[in-house]
């Protein structure tokens, strides 16, 4: 009688565990990582998660490659900052805790206006329009200093208005917990969206816009409404940003930030809902931690991005899910050795190339003053010495050769395991679902 699909929606234990764990992670993180730096980083992680998930509504779920998502997060940040100023002078009496919602409304409002033009088209024209609008808004940011504050941006103080329940949002930890709640609620809401009629038709529009038009839907309308919803969540993220940093500068609407959303959403994995969450964590860690390790970290980031586009277009999330599939068929143990070899050879290659990259940076930026030597992984390299260059090159090439040798054999093994899994699955048919439905 009750086929699986006709049964009412149940919050299965599995899903409960995942969401409970997600929420718990956010609530307990500052208990484990207590330093002010980590609380600040955790706050930024929340902001980035909401931004990247909202971006992925367009990219992953709708097939809309936007180059201007920072327009919606950024403009919302400015509106939120002005709202904070309004709270301070009494002209805008709302609780400070609702600032992210103000940002959300602003983001949605801008998406209503700008998105109408943007979503007229799909595919390449869509991407072009987002790029153009992004440039337009960046240019405007410098032309209208009354709103955007010119070069210096606009600053505000979040410790304004009457404290509710004794919360002033002065201490970073209070802001963190507010942002954590927004992050959890927005993540749940955006996940819920993927389970609605509009969310599903957005997937259909991504896969085959032509057919969608012949089953009663205007693809333009599907894109437009989804774009507004994505704009809302982008705006919430922008409001969270304003509350956290108490400043908005022209940089928050600029193409660079839009590019980061694209890059890290893709790195995390656009084809899975949770992919952008991974991407967002990487984005914050990348800026805060890796930039401390090396000046050339964006170069490494670019290289990683290139490799991902070529070898794992599903991002980190798809890599994880592919291995989960292997693990579910109890074959993962056959890959551990290979992963060890791949990691070891990749490390050798990276050490070699890394040495060369660092030497180039050292020469170009002259960070060591007149000295041509630099410390690299505990050894001293001479950026003008042939020995250092040849040594680094030799290590890099040896690493590359070894990596390629291992990779080819790994690919064969991987293919063999996939074939076995396919065979397992065909053998097990009919699937439990089909059996239950009949």
């Amino acid at each position: 009688m009750t086929s699986p699909a006709a049964a009412p929606r149940r919050l299965g234990t599995g899903r409960l565990v995942v969401w409970g764990g997600f929420a718990l992670l956010f609530l307990l993180a500052p208990v484990v990582f207590t330093s002010s730096l980590s609380v600040s980083l955790l706050s930024q992680v929340g902001i980035a998660i909401v931004a990247c998930l909202s971006y992925n509504m367009l990219l992953g779920q709708g097939g809309m490659l936007s180059f201007g998502h920072a327009v919606y997060t950024g403009l919302a940040s400015f509106v939120a900052i002005h709202a904070l100023l309004g709270i301070a002078d009494g002209s805008f009496p709302v609780p400070v805790s609702l600032i992210p919602l103000v940002g959300g409304v602003a983001g949605a409002a801008f998406a209503v206006v700008l998105g109408f033009v943007t979503t007229k088209k799909a595919g390449t024209p869509f991407a072009m329009i987002t790029l153009g609008l992004g440039e337009l808004v960046t240019a405007m940011a410098l032309m209208i200093p009354e709103f955007f504050g010119g070069e210096g941006g606009v600053t505000a103080n979040r410790v304004v208005g009457k404290p509710i329940l004794g919360l002033t949002f002065g201490p970073q930890i209070q802001v963190y917990y507010l942002l954590a709640i927004y992050t959890i609620v927005c993540t749940a809401a955006m996940f819920a969206f993927t389970r609605t009629p509009l969310g599903r038709m957005l997937n259909a529009t991504r896969d085959n816009p032509e057919r969608v038009e012949f089953i009663g839907y205007s693809t333009q309308r599907v894109r437009y409404i989804s774009f507004i919803i994505a704009g809302f969540f982008a705006g919430v993220s922008g409001g969270m940003y304003a509350l956290n940093f108490e400043i908005a500068t022209a940089e928050v609407v600029a193409a660079g930030r839009s590019g980061l959303y694209l890059l890290f959403t893709f790195l995390g994995g656009a084809t899975f809902f949770f992919g952008p969450i991974i991407g967002a964590v990487l984005m914050v860690l990348g800026f805060a931690l890796f930039s401390e390790v090396t000046k050339a970290w964006q170069l490494y980031l670019g290289l990683i991005f290139l490799f991902m586009v070529m070898y794992a277009p599903g991002g980190i999330a798809s890599l994880i899910m592919m291995n989960v599939r292997v693990a579910m068929h109890r074959k993962l143990h056959r890959l551990w050795g290979w992963y060890g070899l791949l990691a070891a050879t990749a490390l050798v290659m990276l050490v070699g190339f890394g040495a060369m990259i660092e030497m180039v940076y050292h020469l170009q930026l002259g960070s060591g003053g007149s000295s041509s030597t630099l410390r690299y992984l505990g050894i001293t390299l001479d950026s003008r010495g042939a020995a250092s260059w040849f040594g680094a090159l030799a290590v890099a090439l040896a690493g590359f050769a070894a990596f390629e040798f291992v990779r080819r054999r790994f690919a064969v093994q991987w293919g063999r395991i996939q074939t076995e899994i396919e065979a397992d699955m065909t053998f097990k048919e009919p699937t439990p679902n089909a059996a239950a439905a009949s």
Partner: protein
Amino acid sequence: MSTGGTPAVELRDLRKSFGKTEIIRGTDLVVAPGERVAIIGPNGAGKSTLFNLISGRFGPTSGEILLHGKRIDGLKPYEINRLGLARSFQITNIFGRLSVFENLRCGLLWSMGYRYAFWKFLADLRDANERSEQLLKMIRLEKKRDTLAMNLTYAEQRALEIGITIAGGAEVVLLDEPTAGMSKSETARFIDLIREVTVGKTLLTVEHDMGVVFGLADKIAVLVYGEVIAFDVPDAVRANGKVQEAYLGSVLAETHA
């Protein structure tokens, strides 16, 4: 189903040019509700173009298209679909990265009134889900319920193509070469399936296989160079001298050879 004598589909002096080339040259056609019409004709006669005009993929250059007596020429495909006309495609046109079940459910969401809803969960739409399961059985893909559409065999994809088309319950159904690329035995089974799922509907189909045409259709329209040169019951069309001369004779000769 429809009121009185209003035809389900009516074409009045329909014309379509691409550049200087006129593909459809003054086509007239009246299809009564519940009729099954096969449109045949040599390659390049404009059969697919005719379907594209009726379903709104292209706008006509001149002339009128009426669905249940209402003008639909110049409307968008989704507007025409909402008025009760659905079509399938010659080249399989499905949602590759969605499961078979999801494909069917997408096909009926609009007609069940769910439109652009983002405040309801799909899993709670009992009527839509039950209907999707029914469709799944009708097109005999229950065992492939959760398979991604792109991983189906060709024949299964063709069945899904029909499933999406009829999902919304449109009263007028256009099938563009539904059996294209299928083997003989597959075709025979598939024709039974089409007959089954289109009971009580007005059916227009483009078809090359003459066995299919004579088996499935109440009436045959012969389209040659953008004009309907004959429109009658199969036996009369077979006997029609003009048709034999223009088209059917050679095809019949081919099939007998």
